[in-house]
């Protein structure tokens, strides 16, 4: 801390979060563009992380292990982009705050057969003010849905981009990431203009 990362000659890490319901293709999405096989790391969540002040000294505190998958992409300009898949299960939503902290933006991956699976992710990023795009995964070979019907179903604002992608296809994933950063940039520009 203290010195700005850009003051160093080394790499600067940045992050984009990939969210969506369980089994929607988040790890596939990350793996399609990551330069490493997606890795899995675990965090142990104790009562303390869940907002309980006291850690009981007799060892009765409960511990839960949350797994998250991530990938890495080296970019020019001495940047390294990490992609994090959020844990899919609803009971791990509190972990999302940690993942979203400092993120450039987020992708909400949608499977139109189970559109309700991404409601929690949309709610979370809206409340937190994290810029996000909705990516409709066409992975299952379903017909391409009208984005405006998806917008209506998700009740998201008109400025939130909705794109189609096949989460297995690198250029599709690249296109989604471009959309995230562009959307984030628009947000910064409009905030700067407003202040």
């Amino acid at each position: 801390m203290g010195s700005k990362p850009s003051d160093r000659t080394g790499l600067t890490p940045v992050k984009i979060v990939v969210a969506g319901g369980f089994g929607v293709g988040k790890t596939t999405f990350v793996g399609a563009i990551s330069e490493i096989e997606p890795l899995r790391s675990e965090a142990i969540i104790t009562d303390a992380s869940l907002g309980v002040d006291e850690i009981v000294a007799d060892g009765t505190k409960t511990e839960t292990t949350v797994a998250m998958d991530f990938g890495r992409i080296s970019l020019k300009h001495h940047l390294v982009l990490y992609l994090f898949g959020t844990p899919g299960q609803d009971r791990f939503h509190f972990m999302w705050d940690e993942l979203a902290r400092g993120a450039i933006g987020a992708v909400v991956l949608v499977d139109t057969r189970r559109i309700e699976a991404c409601f929690a992710a949309v709610d979370f990023f809206e409340k937190r003010g994290t810029p996000f795009v909705v990516a409709i995964n066409t992975f299952h070979g379903r017909r391409v849905h009208d984005p405006e019907l998806v917008r209506e179903a998700l009740r998201i604002a008109p400025e939130v981009p909705i794109v189609h992608c096949d989460a297995r296809v690198r250029v599709d994933v690249q296109k989604v990431l471009v959309a995230v950063v562009e959307h984030s940039l628009e947000r910064v520009m409009s905030e700067a203009a407003a202040s």
Binding site: P13, V14, L75, M189
Partner: protein
Amino acid sequence: MSDVMAGGRIVRPYTMTGGRSGVGLVPIALEALVTVTPAGMRMRGRFRWESAEILAHSRKETAIVELAAILDVPVGVVRVLAADLRDQGAVAITEPPGATDTADSDYAELLHKVLDGIKAL
């Protein structure tokens, strides 16, 4: 040592960190990059177990979350040990530039670079 068994070490994760989990501080970001310093290279013989492994795997900049995956320990353990190593001057940690503590113009410049980088893949 009593915690060394034939096949390796059997301890609960936070025994490695003396019971500390870093709760109450702003934790080091998951994607923060850890790099061993020249001083860390010189004194690496002083460190054992996970701390030694962190030094061995951070000759190239490696994220906290990657170290956790490589060492197969929870992220919280790497955070605490990496913070200790930083306090002793053995590693440098580069935190990501957060949107909140960065001027809009600097942040916009960063986003332009990221955008350019992704498009060039």
